[in-house]
């Protein structure tokens, strides 16, 4: 958090699935998972889960992040993708799961994919010297609130602002050659090597690499995947201490 103090032109994008899951349990509706026909395991996003996402991210996580930044003299404003229609998404209408050996379509699913980010609102706030703190959910063109992946929001925000660098800070020091060995960080992935890396990666890392690709495609200069749990994660990541993708 201290790392953001004094840095101009920053946008902080956050997720918060731990908060969502914890609140879901408190509300007696723990997260449900499903497996797609191609074996990807995902969190179910039926209306009750989306309500939990809104409460946890737009409510709890964002307010505490903005308050914590404020205590360090950083003037921040929390925005979900719904605010000012900042993040327009397309609702996934064809989410399928395997249930009792059959393929079913989850017709009530409210997850989406990011389509566009409206940079004008972000530039307006940045112009006022404010750090935008952005998180899910997003909104469709018809005005339906849908949940979207925070890393993809980050990629599109960075692209929309023509950012030089997108930092994806996470609980691992970067793309690991050997997932169980934290010292096996791959220092550099060239853009053309990304599809292979995505293929080999699993879980959250697969999605981060996917987001990195989207960011480069949207014109971002470079993406660094680096550790968040250390003293100055931003400075270290900017210095390339992680996996740099360009």
């Amino acid at each position: 958090m201290e790392d953001l103090v004094g840095r101009a032109g920053c946008v902080l994008v956050h997720g918060g699935s731990e908060s969502v899951d914890r609140l879901g349990k408190e509300l007696g509706r723990p997260p449900e998972f499903y497996t797609t026909p191609s074996g990807v395991v995902s969190r179910r996003c039926e209306p009750a889960h989306l309500a939990t996402v809104v409460l946890a991210l737009a409510g709890e996580v964002q307010t505490s992040l903005v308050a914590a930044l404020g205590r360090r003299g950083v003037r921040a404003v929390g925005l979900s993708g719904v605010d000012g229609r900042l993040v327009l998404a397309r609702r996934r209408s064809n989410v399928r799961a395997v249930r009792d050996g059959r393929v079913v379509r989850l017709a009530d699913d409210l997850s989406g994919t990011v389509e566009t980010v409206d940079a004008s609102l972000l530039r307006g706030l940045l112009g006022l010297g404010i750090v935008p703190v952005v998180g899910p959910p997003a909104v469709t063109s018809e005005g339906t609130v849908v949940n979207v992946d925070a890393d993809l929001i980050a990629a599109r925000v960075a692209g929309a602002l023509g950012a030089e660098t997108l930092l994806l800070l996470t609980n691992v020091p970067g793309l690991l050659r050997e997932p169980s060995d934290r010292t096996s960080v791959v220092p550099r992935v060239r853009r053309e090597e990304l599809p292979g890396a995505i293929e080999r990666a699993g879980g959250r890392m697969k999605k981060k690499l996917h987001a990195a690709g989207e960011a480069l495609e949207a014109g971002v200069g470079r993406v660094v995947i680096a550790a968040s749990d250390r003293a100055h994660p931003i400075a270290a990541a900017l210095a390339g201490d992680g996996t740099e993708i360009r």
Binding site: C45, R99, R102, V103, N147, D149, K207, H210
Partner: protein, 53 residues
Amino acid sequence: MTECPVCAADVESKDKIAGEVFPCVDCGTELEVRALEPFAVEPAPKEAEDWGE
């Protein structure tokens, strides 16, 4: 029992589950169970399967 909305072939409801997606035995169109009582099917959306969230 109902009919395939594309080729009018018979579509069996036996042991189908709600939301199930399956091919019409005649024309192969992907159909989706929209209701069990009464049994109703519609062509399933065609979009490619997306990433999980």
